[in-house]
């Protein structure tokens, strides 16, 4: 039992040390130097190269947001900040800058407040990435099984009672870790939110240009993606309205 746990441990922790080449680090540094000199566009270009390689980190997204903001691409900066915030949901700098960037957005909505439980759940689910939650879920499940074994085979009544409680407890924890894992994937992998990048976009009542025009939203507005149908996506505005826009006009967070 113990050996199998160790093997599992190695299996899980291995990928963390496999990635990360040296190149992106120097690119990142070069970009920072350009930014400090005031060449924000140049910095953004270098950082974009890193992102194009499929690499990402909260710092990269945060810096790209800053550079985009400085050259006036407010909508893009919001997109980058949101991406960074997914990885570091409690970071003060990201929140502060996002707040400033948002103040440049034209559209103001009476947002429907989310249920605090849902908000908390999402916040907690973003504390770790989905991988982290998966590892924790697996470990808790393993612990639960070990405790169950102890309960089954222990002769002493005191031990039996203790292990039973612990089993139930760890099982509940494993289930919640699994839930958080799904919560995390819901926002990070499935990309259910997006930022409007084109200056103005018209929301239609149906996919395609045949529908009726419902509303006009402007760049920087954050919307929820509810459905995708080819070129068109169904979005939900912060005030709860729903419409179809072309998928090319948004950047998925």
């Amino acid at each position: 039992m113990r050996r199998s746990l160790i093997i599992l441990f190695i299996l899980v922790s291995l990928p963390a040390s496999l990635c990360a080449t040296e190149d992106p680090d120097s690119l990142f540094k070069a970009g920072s130097e350009l930014y400090n000199k005031g060449d924000h566009a140049g910095a953004l270009e270098l950082w974009q190269e890193i992102a194009d390689e499929g690499l990402y980190s909260p710092a990269l997204y945060y810096n790209m947001g800053n550079a985009a903001f400085k050259i006036g691409k407010t909508a893009h900066s919001i997109l980058w900040y949101e991406k960074a915030l997914l990885m570091k949901p409690f970071d003060e700098d990201i929140r502060y800058n996002l707040e400033i960037a948002r103040s440049y957005v034209t559209d103001r909505f009476d947002t429907i407040p989310e249920l605090f439980v849902i908000r908390w759940f999402r916040m907690i689910s973003l504390v770790l990435d989905s991988n982290g939650w998966a590892v924790i879920a697996v470990m808790l499940f393993a612990l639960c099984l070990v405790l169950l074994l102890l309960w089954l085979f222990s002769g002493k009544p005191g031990v039996k009672r203790l292990t039973l409680t612990a089993t139930v407890f760890s099982f509940a924890l494993a289930l919640s870790a699994l839930g958080l894992y799904h919560g995390n994937r819901r926002v990070t992998i499935k990309k259910r939110a997006a930022v409007i990048l084109t200056p103005a976009e018209t929301g239609m009542s149906s996919p395609g240009t045949g529908g009726k025009e419902l509303f006009v939203i402007h760049e920087g507005t954050k919307v929820k993606i509810e459905e995708e149908a080819g070129e068109w996506i169904r979005i939900r505005l912060p005030d709860g309205n729903v419409g179809w826009i072309t998928s090319g006009s948004v950047g998925k967070i």
Binding site: L8, N131, A134, L145
Partner: protein, 602 residues
């Protein structure tokens, strides 16, 4: 009598006052035709001296001088203003064509000479003569061909140049030319000058026409209005035509063959005339404008100053920027000055002292900043830069003011105020602006897209593997327990037999009265039996363990205590001298009895 004196004084006074400031002006037509009679008048603002006219060598003096005198005195709010006009009029006739100069007329009073300006007079060929020369043959109906008044009459918009830089001034003059007499002008329609910033140049009211030679013809001209124009966009800008209606005096000829000319009368006829459109090319300013350029075109000087160098906290100080010169002064915006945030600066007070003349807008524009230092210390008002485009030199010029230093001392009030309350009243930190926070220098650990090891199915597969592992372990453990249970059963079955063998050994010792060995053997047999029977390994064979197991398996406390007592007795007698007091045979029986009971119960 008194009245007489004062009256006398009234008349003498103006003469006395004027005497100190004598002007001599001359009035003469600019252009005359050969044979024409004209008038030259010198006017002196004094009387009592003598006037000497210049020589009239180039002209024929018809008559003169005729002198006339007039004076007027006005007293307004006790201020005496008087005007004396002493004029000398000469009638001349031009004899030949050319440009002639009449020298200055000299007025001598006391020992001082006052002279007028020289006068230039242009004499041109008379139209009649020219016409006669040109059309010698057609002179027959000379009488009928007389005045076709109003034919030669036009309006012009004159501009001093038609190629300018953006923002450079142009002088536009609206001028009326007429050969005949006019009795009035009405219905002015001035161009709208779209594309220009227009400023009116003060133009005197038209009272009479000035004679002027235009291509050999004498015209009466009148400047109706002068404008200063500043182009507001580049490219070709057209000035719309101006138009107006003039009232022409036309001679109505009588049909009377004898007295026709003599009794002819004048009739006033309105005529509308308009000017041509004028095109002006506006060039854009050349590239390479300095950063401090804000659209000023012309020629300027810059001056900055403060009203004082040292001031107390919360006292005001005035900082003045003054731009003076010639150009589009009105368009110069209030400059931004960068000051320490501890100095409160108010919106500048802008004042313009601008004269609009034919040579452009001249004057100065002043920006006064009221500064109030809110904290003591030495402050610098940074040098201020002002740039403009000089159209004459065709390049940008920049002037830089010197930096001004202000020393701000603590105000007395502040010190007193703080001491009363026994501590400094600290203020909140003042925030000057907001910006996004700076970038992070640490890139952190880069992750790769789709890196997650335990995503989706793989996570559940892992959980399943764990579950399978779990059941496998349970299965193995069950198997092991079962095998162990079998082992125990064997030991259990054999326990009685092994015990009886050991009891035999004990009996032999009992027969030989070897009590010490007897107890040892007996204990050996008991321990061995209990270990086998209760499936307790040899290593765990302690009294407590055995007794607990026995109690658990038999469920009888009486039996357990009997076993416990028996073992205690055996242990005691084993080490007691001379084998103890108990009867060994009885103990042997008790042990046999105990085993029998255990066999039954367990």
């Amino acid at each position: 009598m008194k009245i007489l004196v004062s009256l006398l004084l009234l008349f003498i006074l103006p003469v006395l006052t004027i005497a100190q400031d004598i002007t001599v002006t001359v009035e003469a037509p600019g252009v005359v035709a050969v044979g024409e009679q004209f008038r030259v008048v010198w006017t002196v603002s004094s009387r009592g001296g003598s006037f000497t006219a210049p020589g009239f060598d180039d002209f024929y003096l018809l008559s003169g001088p005729q002198t006339s005198f007039s004076s007027s005195t006005s007293i307004i709010n006790g201020k005496v203003t008087s005007e004396v006009k002493n004029s000398f009029t000469y009638y001349l006739q031009a004899t030949r064509t050319g440009n002639f100069t009449l020298g200055p007329g000299i007025y001598t009073e006391g020992r001082e000479d006052f002279s007028s300006k020289q006068v230039e007079i242009e004499v041109i060929e008379s139209r009649d003569a020219a016409a006669a020369r040109n059309n010698n043959q057609e002179t027959a109906g000379a009488g009928a061909a007389v005045s076709d008044a109003g034919e030669e009459m036009f309006l012009r918009v004159l501009i001093d140049r038609n190629r300018v830089y953006m923002g450079e001034h142009i002088v536009a003059t609206l001028k009326l030319y007429s050969e005949s007499n006019l009795s009035g002008i009405r219905d002015y329609k001035f161009p709208d000058f779209s594309g220009f910033l227009k400023e009116d140049i003060e133009t005197p009211q038209v009272t009479s026409l000035t004679r002027e030679n235009v291509n050999g013809e004498i015209y009466g001209t009148a400047v109706l209005q002068r404008y200063l124009l500043f182009p507001q966009r580049t490219g070709t800008i057209e000035i719309n035509p101006a138009s107006l209606t003039v009232l022409v005096q036309e001679r109505v000829r009588s049909n009377d063959p004898f007295f026709g000319d003599f009794f002819s009368s004048f009739n006033t006829v309105p005529r509308m005339i308009s000017s041509d459109a004028v095109k002006i090319t506006v060039q854009p300013l050349p590239a390479g404008a300095p950063a401090s350029f804000s659209g000023a075109v012309g020629n300027f000087t810059l001056e900055t100053f403060t009203d004082r160098d040292s001031v107390k906290v919360n006292d005001a100080i005035t900082y003045t920027i003054r731009v003076a010169g010639n150009g589009n002064l009105r368009l110069i915006p209030a400059p931004d000055i960068s000051l320490s945030p501890d100095i409160e600066a108010y919106e500048p007070k802008t004042a313009s002292a601008i004269r609009t003349t034919t040579s452009g807008s001249e004057g100065s524009r002043t920006f006064e900043y009221l500064l109030i230092p809110r904290y003591h210390g030495n402050y610098n008002i940074p040098p201020f830069e002002f740039s403009w485009f000089d159209p004459d030199q065709k390049r940008y010029m920049t002037a830089r003011s010197s930096a001004s230093e202000i020393v701000v001392t603590k105000s007395d009030e502040e010190q007193e105020g703080t001491e009363i309350f026994g501590g400094r009243t600290g203020g909140d930190v003042r925030y000057l602006g907001s910006d996004i926070r700076h970038i992070w220098s640490d890139p952190g650990r880069f992750r790769i897209d789709g890196e997650t090891m335990l995503s989706g199915n793989r996570l559940y597969l892992t959980l399943l593997v764990l579950l399978v592992l779990f059941f496998l372990i349970i299965l193995l453990r069950r198997e092991q327990i079962k095998r162990n249970a079998d082992l125990a059963r064997v030991r259990n079955r054999k326990a009685a037999r092994i015990a009886s063998n050991r009891f035999k050994v004990a009996r032999t010792s009992l027969k030989n009265s070897d009590f010490r060995n007897f107890y040892s053997d007996l204990l050996n047999a008991l321990w061995g039996y209990l270990g086998d029977k209760l499936a307790i390994p040899l290593s765990d064979l302690k009294k407590e363990n055995v007794m607990t197991a026995l109690l658990e398996k038999s469920g009888s406390e009486e039996l357990t205590s009997t076993a416990s007592d028996l073992i205690d007795i055996c242990e005691y007698n084993r080490y007691a001298p001379s084998g103890g007091n108990d009867d060994p045979a009885k103990i042997y029986d008790m042990a046999v009895e105990l085993i029998k009971r255990i066999e039954k119960k367990v």
